[in-house]
């Protein structure tokens, strides 16, 4: 019984934490990938700093609610970035002046995920003094609805799993406690109070639940590491890999709280059963 309980409970924790892990990472990668919704505006070289300021203002006014952030990156900042990333090449291949001629100032526009990027880009393109506009997340835009649906499905799956497994866990705990009824019955007949009769099987179940919780979380960790390894092997998924994270402390706590709640409910139910069975004789 103890082994079956531990296997089943570990499996429940593993399933719940895996669904939470997948949901968490899907959210990070697609759900609120605000930095992927970035429009890069290349400003013409001929623009004076005042004109650039004016362009910046006009961009901000295109859609104040759907444009989350507008950042101006000057040519000098871009050169500094190049030198930082490619120190060996920047000194040998390019002179600062050459780089200044190549690199236009950039205005980085971060859109809200719900923004309609096409409309915004069209309006931006009509602003004078802009040489080109690029949107880095066309594919995200295309699959936005899909990600939204996927997210809803994952949330539904999680809630379903959580409900079903919570019920199963509660039943399992109750049955485990009731399976100790010979010992409980003897204790009651020898003068134990309901709490005394209950303390041993209940502390056993608490210990088993804790061990199962650790095992379940450990296997989720193994699963997460395996997924990350597979993802990092493919360069196309590099951006996903950098964003992936293991279960957050909040999610780990949610599962622990769920189990605690189940233990408390099962304790209440079993305690009532034992009280009725051995003390009240109704």
């Amino acid at each position: 019984m103890k082994t079956i309980y531990m296997i089943f409970m570990s499996l429940c924790v593993f399933i719940l934490s895996s669904v939470l892990y997948i949901k968490q990472n899907t959210n990070i990668i697609f759900g609120d990938a605000s930095d992927l919704y970035t429009v890069n505006i290349s400003v013409e070289k001929s623009q004076t700093p005042e004109q650039v300021e004016s362009i910046l203002k006009q961009v901000q006014d295109v859609h104040p609610t759907h444009i989350k952030k507008v950042t101006l990156i000057s040519s000098q900042e871009l050169i500094a970035d190049v030198e930082k990333v490619l120190p060996a090449y920047s000194s040998g291949l390019f002179e600062n002046q050459e780089l200044e001629q190549i690199l236009n100032p950039i205005i980085e526009v971060q859109l809200a995920p719900e923004a309609s990027s096409n409309d915004i880009i069209t309006k931006i393109k009509s602003i004078t003094g802009i040489s080109s506009v690029t949107f880095s997340a066309d594919w995200v835009e295309k699959f936005k609805s899909f990600f939204l649906v996927a997210n809803i499905i994952l949330e539904t799956i999680f809630i379903l799993f959580f409900t079903i497994l919570s019920f199963l866990i509660a039943v399992l705990i109750r049955n485990y406690l009731i399976s100790s009824k010979d010992s409980i019955s003897l204790h009651t007949l020898l003068g134990a109070t309901p709490s005394q009769a209950f303390i041993k099987p209940y502390s056993q179940i608490m210990l088993l639940t804790f061990i199962s919780y650790i095992i379940g979380i450990f296997f989720t960790f193994v699963l997460a590491a395996t997924i990350k390894q597979k993802v990092s092997a493919n360069i196309d998924f590099a951006f996903i890999n950098s964003r992936m994270s293991f279960l957050s402390a909040t999610n780990i706590l949610i599962i622990a709280l769920g189990l605690f709640l189940n233990l408390a409910i099962s304790y209440g139910l079993s305690h009532r059963y034992i009280n009725k069975e051995y003390y009240k004789h109704d």
Partner: protein, 225 residues
């Protein structure tokens, strides 16, 4: 000490297991409850250990009613009671020492007191070598002795034993009977259910001995031996 007045136990509204049972069990008294199978001995034991409710009548312990199922009073009463079950009811996943120690642990005795009391009673029953064994690895007779040891380890005021010598040979049965008589002589009230009437003849004069004979749920004989 314990008295029953006009006690009835009825199952399924028309099956009478016990009818109009009245008797008093006093300290320092050894009572044999006899009768054929189905006479109501086990039912009476269940009522005495408050495993079941009486249908009507009164059950008092030291002049306190026990049929109201007050948990505090019930647990206090059960702690003064030593029970020997017909099927032993040993806990399989703990060793003999711990099985015998159960009543003491329930009553929050210290570890030292438990160790002393358990070893003393195990020695008395010749079970010391089995202290660390598990119930599955000892014989039926040994289990019987462990069950008796557990019933007396906390020095109860009242002992009820259902066929306590059923699994013992004559020699061991007489030895157990002698222990019960000693306890009765020390002031404990003892009630033993048995169907072996021959057993009654082996009692000594150490304590007051009485026989209550049940038939079809009624007391048909209540007399000193």
């Amino acid at each position: 000490m314990i008295s029953l007045k006009h006690v009835y136990k009825t199952y399924d509204s028309d099956r009478h297991a016990l009818r109009d049972i009245s008797f008093t069990l006093n300290p320092a008294e050894l009572v044999f409850l006899t009768g054929p199978s189905g006479a109501g001995k086990t039912t009476l034991f269940k009522l005495l250990s408050i495993q079941e409710k009486i249908s009507s009548g009164e059950l008092n312990f030291n002049n306190h009613p026990m049929n109201d199922f007050n948990i505090k009073r019930m647990t206090a009463y059960r702690r003064k009671l030593g029970i020997v079950f017909q099927d032993f009811r040993l806990i399989q996943d703990i060793n003999i020492f711990d099985n015998v120690a159960v009543p003491l642990k329930i009553q929050n005795y210290s570890k030292k007191e438990i160790s002393l009391a358990v070893h003393e009673v195990l020695e008395r029953f010749g079970l010391q070598e089995y202290a660390n064994s598990y119930p599955d690895y000892i014989s039926g007779g040994e289990k019987q002795r462990v069950a008796i040891a557990r019933a007396i380890v906390h020095k109860p005021e009242l002992i009820i034993a259902d066929e306590p010598t059923g699994n013992l040979d004559r020699k061991n049965a007489l030895s157990v009977l002698s222990i019960f008589q000693d306890l009765a002589a020390q002031g404990v009230a003892v009630m033993i259910a048995t169907h072996d009437e021959e057993f009654l003849k082996s009692t000594s004069k150490k304590s007051k001995v009485r026989q209550i004979h049940l038939e079809s749920g009624r007391v048909v004989k209540d007399q000193p031996l």
